[in-house]
């Protein structure tokens, strides 16, 4: 029985945390609030070249670090804690698809990601579909020059900064994964106003866009399921980090802010708010760590564990971030204060890849309760 991380895993966590604090921490969040979203390619490259984070789970022979999903989960937790506002989730999500393909195109793209020169995202959900719908109205037609893809993809994360997309599209033989560069013909990337200020989002319209088949119908559905499961746990990990950050901020503020001649943290009402949030964060954390372990260990129940982790982490983050605003009082409801960033992230990532309600419905379906 061992429910702790190995020393190397703890070291990885420390390295990521100190990198993010230094290069993408409170200052970056302040900038985000004052001047809006701006993607720092410098930080991105350093993250890839110095730490290898973008291709952490990609095999070494393909330019990655060959680490397991547990390591990946640790990184996501730290990303959520600092609210890193680069396209990390989107890019890593896409590498999971690419990693399932032995094609040259995949090889090349993975190497570019490893070098920090390529930002990816995954275009999966249709405008009208829910995250879990396996089908898609986006069509890919084989032509003598390769495939052409036509359709509209909604809620594509980090679309404004992506250099290329992996796209979930229907061929005559079944759903498949394609890779298309942002500059290809017929690509229209429509930016939208994202609830999450640190994660821009958009709608992607493709019209007869030339795209490379990455994973064909034989394997694509299995890759989709595996990517969905990983995405849920990655988001759960981010949300656990976000919840922890919001809780930490509440506690810090409650120690320093004085009203009625004493620190407000000495009032029981705030203590109990924080204690309840603490318990929820801890519970979400163990569920997330366990789901990540299950993915890494190839356990068959990983999908239902991912749903459990996702809904718990989303609720915990919304609770901790909501409390944080409440505990800060007036100042916590201002634009200038980063408290709303945590709440926005909590609700947006809570909805991404399935809301808590959708995941609870899925848990009941999977356990046929």
């Amino acid at each position: 029985m061992d429910f702790t991380f190995a020393q190397e895993q703890e070291d990885l966590r420390d390295a990521v945390r100190s990198f993010l604090r230094k290069r993408a921490g409170a200052d970056a969040r302040r900038e985000l609030l004052h001047t809006g979203y701006a993607f720092d390619r410098e930080v991105w490259r350093s993250m890839a070249r110095d730490l290898g984070l973008q291709t952490l789970t990609v095999p070494e022979e393909r330019g990655g670090s060959g680490a397991g999903f547990l390591e990946s989960m640790i990184v996501f937790e730290e990303m959520g804690r600092e609210l890193f506002s680069g396209p990390f989730f989107s890019t890593v999500l896409a590498t999971w698809v690419l990693d399932a393909s032995a094609s040259d195109a995949a090889n090349t793209a993975l190497q570019q990601v490893a070098d920090g020169d390529l930002v990816l995202t995954a275009a999966i959900a249709d405008e009208s579909g829910t995250w879990s719908a396996p089908g898609t109205a986006t069509r890919a037609v084989a032509t003598p020059d390769g495939h052409r893809v036509t359709g509209a993809k909604a809620r594509v994360t980090d679309l404004p900064v992506a250099d290329a997309f992996v796209v979930w599209a229907q061929t005559a033989e079944g759903p498949s994964w394609f890779l298309a560069p942002a500059g290809a013909d017929g690509v229209e990337a429509i930016a939208e106003e994202s609830l999450d200020l640190a994660r821009p989002i958009g709608t992607l319209r493709l019209t007869d866009t030339p795209a490379t088949l990455i994973v064909g119908p034989g394997q694509a559905a299995a890759v989709r399921e595996s990517v969905d499961t990983r995405a849920c746990v990655a988001l759960a990990a981010e949300l656990v980090g976000t919840a922890q950050a919001a809780l930490d901020q509440s506690v810090e503020w409650s120690k320093s802010r004085h009203q009625f001649g004493r620190p407000i943290g000495s009032f029981q009402a705030l203590k109990h708010l924080c204690a309840d949030a603490l318990v929820e964060v801890e519970a979400a954390r163990v569920l997330t760590h366990y789901a990540a372990w299950a993915i890494a260990a190839g356990q068959a129940e990983a999908p239902v564990l991912a749903s459990m982790a996702k809904q718990a982490a989303a609720d915990a983050a919304a609770q901790a971030a909501g409390n944080n605003i409440q505990i800060h009082g007036g100042i916590g409801a201002t634009w200038e204060h980063e408290a709303h960033l945590w709440l926005r992230r909590a609700k947006a990532s809570g909805a991404l890849f399935g809301s808590p309600r959708q995941h609870r419905a899925r848990i009941s379906d999977l356990l046929s309760a």
Binding site: E193, D196, A333, T334, H340, S355
Partner: protein
């Protein structure tokens, strides 16, 4: 018991409805259906029409420009406005009419009533409220903005925060410390002070949903005349707390009508998302229905009390707690119904950042998401809900205060 408007009030309300129908354009779909940038001008026009029609401050005495009717008439006016999908005049009026106006009526001198009230009613003079300070949020009695009496009136130095609409206002009523030697609650005074003077600087505060409704107001040797003390020097705590009850208690019944309209819109949203037959959603909507009705009835109870000249007291805290916690649940439900669409703000933003969106608003995600954010601030302003709960426990239930620290 007869919890409906009395026959004369019903008649008055019908007249008013007829008046509004005359004023409104054909095919009126509600102020929430107006383009966002047309809303302020529309609200200003409406206010002018109401003033000229004699429907503002109907419960104020005639000598100060009112119509000398009852608070019941006033609630009937406000309710009718919402029923016809119109806004409640403006946020400035909340501070000017409901709060400062009521305070002057209760505590002002005859001279002050004649000087201040007609301008408030006509909209010529706009007011804002200066209570909170950066170091005095929940602990209002600790305000440190100081006023010292000189030959030419009071000289004010300090800083106020969360002064809604200060950037649009002409005057501020501020709680200031006039006796630094007296115990905390004893040395305070409520001062009316003109805003457009060199000693005052106003800085807008942007809220987390992107709009700037609040301000910081900096006083650097700002001056106001001697006769702008409201309710007596060093009597500010009593005046201010009475005033806070106006802020909290009065409008629960009217607010409930706005919440009703919002809940109808939520049902429409559920239909659009094909969640209206889901038993989880139906349970939650039904729960909301009962809460909104209870809110209205709590308002009727408070109205009955005020018609009998009884004080509302700490029960105003109950209404504030009830509606603001309700609104957090309601907007969470909206986010749940939106599902994936809660990720992106599409369509029209709310015209109002306080409680439900304007009546007739569309079901756009931008509206619901923004209201979700504003609902979080409703639990904070006018006294955090933690403070309200403590107040209720101590004032209504008589539970013992915390022992004083050693």
């Amino acid at each position: 018991m007869n919890p409906v408007f009395s026959t004369p009030v019903q008649e008055f309300q019908r007249e008013f409805a007829e008046f509004l129908r005359q004023v409104l354009p054909a095919g009126w779909a509600g102020s929430g259906a107006l383009p966002h940038d047309e809303f302020p001008a529309f609200a200003a026009d409406l206010r002018r029409a109401l003033y000229e029609g004699g429907y503002l401050g109907v419960d104020w005495p005639t000598e100060y420009g009112g119509r000398g009717l009852t608070p019941e008439h006033q609630v009937a006016v406000a309710e009718q406005l919402t029923r016809m999908k119109l806004p409640q005049t403006s946020l400035s009026d909340v501070f000017g009419m409901q709060m400062f106006g009521s305070t002057v009526l209760a505590f002002g001198t005859e001279e002050q009533k004649h000087r201040f009230l007609p301008g408030i009613l006509s909209g010529e003079v706009k007011w804002c409220q200066g209570y909170s300070e950066p170091q005095s949020g929940s602990d209002l009695a600790s305000v440190s903005t100081a006023a010292v009496r000189g030959a030419d009136g009071w000289h004010i130095d300090g800083q106020k925060i969360w002064t809604g609409t200060a950037h649009l206002a002409d005057w501020i009523f501020a709680l200031v410390r006039t006796d630094p030697e007296a115990p905390k609650h004893r040395g305070l005074t409520l001062l009316a002070c003109p805003l457009r003077q060199p000693g005052i600087e106003i800085r807008q505060i942007r809220q987390m949903w992107g709009e700037a409704e609040f301000n910081e107001v900096f006083f650097t040797d700002a001056v106001t005349a001697d006769d702008n003390v409201i309710g007596g020097v060093n009597n500010g705590w009593r005046v201010a707390t009475a005033l806070l009850e106006h802020e909290r208690g009065g409008a629960a019944a009217v607010l409930a009508v706005r919440f009703e309209e919002e809940l109808d819109r939520l049902c429409e949203l559920a239909r659009e998302h094909r969640r209206d037959q889901d038993s989880d959603i139906r349970q939650r909507i039904a729960w909301c229905r009962a809460r909104v009705l209870a809110m209205k009835l709590l308002g009727y109870k408070a109205l009955t009390r005020s018609l009998r000249g009884q004080p509302i007291g700490a029960e105003a805290a109950m209404t504030k707690l009830y509606w603001s916690e309700y609104h957090v649940v309601l907007t969470d439900l909206a986010m749940d119904i939106l599902g994936d669409e809660a990720l992106v703000l599409r369509g029209r933003r709310p015209a109002l950042a306080d409680g439900p969106d304007a009546p007739g608003a569309p079901t756009d995600s931008a509206g619901w998401i923004t209201t979700f954010l504003t609902s979080r601030s409703s639990r904070i302003y006018a006294g955090t809900n933690q403070i309200q709960r403590t107040l209720l426990a101590e004032s209504i239930l008589g539970m013992p205060r915390e022992p004083r620290p050693a």
